[in-house]
């Protein structure tokens, strides 16, 4: 009898069996967390030490900021309650993942060059421009999971010190919120400070120092990695369901003035 099972029968029997196995079900997180914090990393510890200028790592606690954006249509309906970087979470970890230099060289400004008008037409959200900085010298638009990323590039500005990237003094990055329940994390290195603020009526964060990475994860489990392009200060906030961020080597007050001039 056993050998006579046809394909369909075997498939059904397997599906049935799969639902009945004595799978363990334990919460792994406490143990995983302990290991992450303890930093038992036999094979990548060497890599870290070799690569990262941020060492000494062992005792340094870094912070990962996790922003959960809830901007699905339903969420929009409950805008006042749900918008605005709701659900920000911060954990302390031994160190942030070491950024790996991309072999092909990550372009500083991702996406295709567009005009401001094109960006506004295609972004699917309200693209705002800071009047304080004047017109951007370059605008790019890049599709990302469930939306788009618009980057405004500001080249030399007399009132802004040059960044680590030649020819760029400030970047404004705008991420549309079509993603449902994104999870966004920001790796914050040693000597970096984080401050919660209200920006243009919405919740925001001022991150001073050398933040370098942002992760976000959408409902489908698509992990997106955002690399902060300039090794400078970052002001990040949410406004009308869009996450705006300014990267520039400027003071908090200056960044807030720029933010206030977003139109």
């Amino acid at each position: 009898m056993a050998s006579r099972m046809d394909d369909r029968t075997i498939e059904l029997a397997l599906t049935d069996l799969g639902g009945r196995l004595a799978y363990p079900s334990v919460d792994l997180w406490p143990a995983v967390r302990e290991r992450i914090v303890a930093g038992r990393r036999p094979w990548w510890r060497g890599l870290l030490a070799a690569r990262s200028p941020l060492v000494p790592v062992a005792a340094t606690l870094l912070v990962i900021l996790l922003l959960v954006l809830a901007v699905s249509p339903e969420a929009r309906a409950k805008a006042a309650e749900l918008l605005g970087l709701r659900g920000v979470q911060i954990i302390k970890v031994p160190e942030t993942p070491t950024p790996t230099p991309s072999p092909t060289g990550t372009p500083l400004v991702p996406g295709g060059r567009v005009t401001l008008e094109e960006a506004r037409a295609q972004a699917g959200f309200t693209v705002r421009v800071p009047a304080a900085l004047g017109d951007p010298d370059e605008v790019t638009l890049e599709p990302v999971a469930g939306g788009a990323r618009v980057t405004l590039v500001y080249r030399d500005r007399p009132d802004i010190p040059p960044s680590s990237q030649p020819g760029i003094s400030a970047l404004v990055v705008e991420l549309g919120g079509r993603l449902d329940q994104n999870v966004m994390g920001k790796g914050i290195g040693p000597g970096t400070t984080l401050e919660q603020l209200t920006v243009n009526g919405g919740l925001g964060f001022w991150i001073a120092g050398q933040p370098h990475q942002v992760f976000y994860l959408d409902q489908r489990g698509q992990f997106q990695q955002e690399t902060l392009r300039l090794a400078g200060n970052t002001l990040l906030w949410e406004q009308d369901g869009v996450t705006y961020r300014i990267e520039a080597q400027i003071t908090k007050d200056a960044a807030l003035r720029v933010a206030a001039s977003f139109r």
């Binding site: 069996l17 995983v32 979470q89 911060i90 992990f223």
Partner: protein
């Protein structure tokens, strides 16, 4: 928010809790023991955390994670040596669909299940894995391809080979563990 700022919520924990179900199950299908499966999944999550920066932006997270999990589980099996048996078993006290069956049909279904289970225990880890992805966890072909790190076209052939071997073992013609 304030709570979050004080750092008492774990961001990566969300990911772990979201995927630990399928991760542990995948590991269990390979190791066949709960303890090893939990260890393998735990290792995988810790490694995945530190490998996040190598994660290709925009790629689906789940198959990437499963790849690490399966690797860990298979390594554990190898470390345990060839003789290690796979105890894969059915949970007790889960009547589920059987209630609709006559006692005879239920007994027959139970017998068939046992036979399949015995055959699965004797399969190669890789075959068990591909069968589990498809029939136990209902992964799409694309996801299987990612998780197994093979071309999409290869998924079908792997699956049909695994099924063929399962059938052979079930028919008692070949003992793969011999």
């Amino acid at each position: 928010m304030e709570r979050a700022q004080h750092g008492d919520v774990d961001a990566y924990g969300e990911l772990v809790r979201r995927y630990q179900g399928i991760a542990t199950r995948t590991a269990y299908v390979i190791t066949g023991t709960s303890a090893d499966a939990e260890d393998a999944a735990q290792d995988a999550f810790a490694k995945a955390y530190f490998a996040l920066d190598r994660f290709r932006s925009g790629a689906p997270f789940r198959p990437w994670l499963l790849r690490i999990v399966a690797n860990e589980a298979i390594n554990r099996r190898k470390a345990a040596g060839r003789r290690a048996t796979v105890d894969l078993s059915v949970a007790e006290g889960r009547p589920s669909g059987d209630t609709a069956l006559s006692p005879e049909a239920a007994a027959l279904a139970g017998e068939q299940r046992e036979m399949l289970l015995r055959a699965l225990r004797q399969l190669r880890d890789e075959d068990r894995l591909v069968i589990a992805y498809r029939y136990f966890f209902d992964l799409s072909e694309a996801e299987m391809a990612e998780a197994l790190r093979v071309a999409r076209g290869t998924v079908k052939s792997r699956l049909s080979r695994a099924l063929a071997r399962l059938r052979t073992v079930a028919a008692g013609e070949v003992r793969l563990d011999g």
